[in-house]
Amino acid sequence: MSAIILFMAGIAAIAGWWLSQQRLAAKPWLEEGVLVDLREQSGSSPPTAKIGLGVFLAVVGSLFALFISAYSMRMTMVDWRALPVPALLWFNTGALVLSSVALQWAYTAARRDDIDGVILGLLSGGASAVTFLIGQLLAWRQLAGAGYFVASNPANSFFYLITAVHGLHLMGGLVALGRTTSKVWRSAEVIRVRLSVELCAIYWHFLLLVWLVLLGLLTGWTDGFVDICRQLLT
């Protein structure tokens, strides 16, 4: 359970930092009148939708941290046989990186009010994300073709499960991306969609980060690190 504990410690640190700025030591029973609101003081607080996305990412993060915890606990059992990682995954990773870059590009274009750039970025980002998903499916087929079925070994089960969950999150993101793209298409005003584009980009970067961590785990690169964590706890 070390991955999730680490993750929770991170969340606790952020929450603690935020709380420490909220004047929790105030004595509300003595203070009357309109207080200087911290949200006013800080100048520009992030828009609601962005905060909503941040909270959502914390939830998704804890989901993946739990999967990783379960993975690292299960892999110590004797029946674990690591499976060969299809080379295709490297291609897929490339596609996902491209996808993230394209969305970042769309976002910078949105800040420049360059509507064509936004559309181009969104479309190519979406296309490479779809490429990634198709690539993942092909990787599944390759593995199944080589006799690595879901139920034949826990390492396989985890591989299919974790990639599926990640893929589902990306598909959810594609829905949001599609809606944003159609919004851009219909209204010429970039300002109105700037926020949506930014949110998509953030979500994509997050999923890319998650994917890189998962890739490290699935290919066994992070085994050394996992071992250290495990030792720390015992």
């Binding site: 929450a15 004047r23 203070e31 309109v34 607080s45 959502f56 606990m73």
Partner: protein, 591 residues
């Protein structure tokens, strides 16, 4: 996502909202059924939760009938008993209490108490309810599928949960897990709303330290739930795959009915870790909103400011954080490294400190207060007594050496019913009697209410107090029928019968309560806007019940905390949160 009208520069919702910005229902359907108004969603959540709660109540009658009069009711066989236990526990904890506190009270109270017009993502909020309803429907469907509902206990421990000896192994367990997954998805949608609304939509002057404790409780509980439910999601998904695809995440190599199963090598302990990583915070997910509600009820009905508000806030936050590092105290008997046991026993006992602080501050708030024994106050007092009672037995069980012999006895059942069954239910009732006038504009009937209180409170003690004694005798839990044993004297059977009769009477009182809810809607006394003379914002709405958008044209401005009762020198015995200080000439705001 919805474009919330938002003054990005100030970071505070603008006081005036133009007509177009608010979501407006266009037809009867979008007003009452597919509504995006948090108040309607709250009522939908509450009605659904209470309906499914009635199912759990009926199941508890059946279980008590069996325990009190073993052998008399031939239609309850051992398998069914296990199914009843499972469904009763699961429904009570998740589908009733969690949904009611967060989806019901949270949706209704958060926007009103922080001075917002609605939740920040109304559309997602509406989806949340419908996914929850779907989860409930799937749950109920387990009663009608071949093999019936699952019978593995509400903890659904593998391997037994999906092996063929267990009732409901066929369909029941699959639907149960699917329903849990849906519930978690639905909850996450709602939870995002509750958290972000508190963060972003507070009105001008409403600093965090001016929030009523109810909001603090619900807010912290929601944050915890958002982080803890994923553990249940992971456990459910993997168990579902073990059952459906034959993977071995949790399933060890074993022989079933004389045959080697397809499973091998899995770790049941892994499931327990995941389950309790969710399960323990879950206890506080239902406790923290109850803490908050009780604090507010006590302050209003004792006409006194809350004692140690800051301490209360800190304690809520501390409990929220600590409850993520105690989960393994549910696994003392599952086998673990002794140092682990020591660590978890220590953290468990440390949680008792902020919890005790809360109890002291309630008592000190009551001290020399002008206590009105209204129905909400009665329930609040009942909560404190019951919670202390259950908390003390919890300290017993938190110690490894004491827990080991008492584990899986009726002592544990008595303990958790006191602390997370009866106590939160008392807070729910107190809250409903308190806020019903705001929700409907009418008071609940007083006579029926007092009857409901006394029967439920005394009755609950009649059921669960003697149960501790049965547990000390060694009476095991989750037994259909213990038969003739040397360690259980005949008198214990009489006690069991007595408890069962009490359970039926308590159940009847709940029917009276439901009747009261409906009857008072039409015939109750008109309440007016603020029948209790409460200072917090939700009682200062221009209309009762609050209209669409809650606040009429302008948002209230907050000048003080929520607990200005019996302030020396003030004109009335309370000062509403939005009343400007005497020195400050109001710009038309305030009553």
């Amino acid at each position: 996502m919805v474009d919330v009208p938002f003054d990005t520069v100030a970071g505070i919702p603008p006081a005036e909202v133009g007509e177009v910005d608010l979501y407006h229902p266009k037809s009867w359907w979008t007003r009452y059924v597919f509504s995006q108004d948090a108040k309607v969603i709250a009522i939908q959540y509450s009605i659904t939760a209470m309906s499914i709660g009635m199912v759990a109540l009926v199941l508890s009658w059946l279980m008590r009938l069996q325990l009190g009069f073993p052998g008399t009711f031939s239609f309850i066989d051992p398998n069914q008993y296990l199914q009843f236990i499972t469904m009763h526990g699961m429904i009570m904890v998740i589908y009733l209490l969690t949904a009611l506190f967060l989806g019901g009270f949270g949706n209704y109270l958060i926007p009103l108490m922080v001075g917002a017009r609605d939740m920040v993502f109304p559309y997602v909020n509406m989806l949340s309810y419908w996914v929850y309803l779907l989860a409930v429907v799937v749950l109920v469907s387990t009663f009608f599928v071949p093999g019936g509902p699952p019978g593995a206990g509400w903890t659904l421990y593998p391997p037994q949960a999906i092996l063929s000896g267990t009732p409901g192994q066929d369909w029941g367990i699959i639907l149960m897990l699917a329903s849990l997954i849906l519930f978690i998805i639905g909850f996450t949608m709602g939870g995002l709303n509750y958290v972000v609304t508190v963060l972003q939509a507070r009105t001008r002057g409403m600093t965090l330290m001016r929030l009523p404790l109810t909001v603090w409780g619900i807010f912290t509980a929601t944050v915890m739930a958002l982080l803890a439910f994923p553990a249940l999601l992971v456990a459910s998904v993997m168990l579902l795959l073990d059952r459906l695809l034959g993977t071995s995440f949790f399933m060890p190599t074993l022989v079933e009915m004389g045959q080697l199963t397809k499973y091998g090598g899995g770790s049941p302990i892994l499931f327990q870790h995941l389950f309790w990583f969710f399960g323990h915070p879950e206890v506080y997910i239902v406790a923290l909103p109850a803490f908050g509600i009780i604090s507010d009820l006590i302050s209003v009905h004792a006409r006194k400011n809350i004692f140690g508000y800051r301490m209360m806030v800190w304690a809520i936050v501390a409990i929220g954080a600590l409850s993520f590092v105690v989960w393994a105290h549910h696994m003392y008997v599952s086998g673990m490294h002794p140092y682990f046991g020591f660590f978890f026993a220590t953290t468990t006992l440390i949680i008792a400190i902020p919890t005790a602080i809360k109890v002291y501050t309630w008592v000190l708030t009551l001290w020399r207060g002008d206590i009105h024994l209204t129905i909400p106050m009665l329930f609040a007092l009942a909560f404190i007594v019951t919670f202390v009672n259950g908390g003390l037995t919890g300290l017993f069980l938190g110690n490894v050496v004491v827990d080991v012999p008492l584990s899986d006895t009726m002592f544990v059942v008595a303990h958790f019913h006191m602390v997370m069954g009866i106590a939160p239910i008392m807070a729910v009732f107190g809250g409903i009697y308190h806020w019903y006038p705001k929700i409907t504009g009418r008071m609940l009937n007083e006579v029926l209410g007092r009857f409901h209180f006394w029967v439920s409170f005394l009755g609950a003690y009649a059921i669960f107090f003697p149960m501790h004694y049965l547990g000390l005798l060694g009476m095991p839990r989750r037994y259909h029928d213990i038969g003739e044993t040397a360690f259980v004297p005949a008198s214990a059977h009489d006690l069991n019968a007595f408890m069962s009769v009490a359970a039926l009477i308590v159940g009847f009182a709940q029917l009276v309560f439901l009747f009261n809810l409906v009857w008072s809607l039409f015939k109750g006394k008109e309440a007016g806007g603020n029948p209790w003379g409460a200072a917090s914002l939700e009682w200062q709405t221009p209309e009762t019940p609050p209209g669409h958008g809650n606040w009429g044209k302008e948002l209230p401005i907050v000048y003080r905390w929520a607990y200005d009762y019996s302030v020396p020198g003030a004109a009335g015995d309370f000062v509403p949160q939005n009343e400007p200080p005497a020195g400050l000439l109001a710009q038309g705001a305030g009553p």
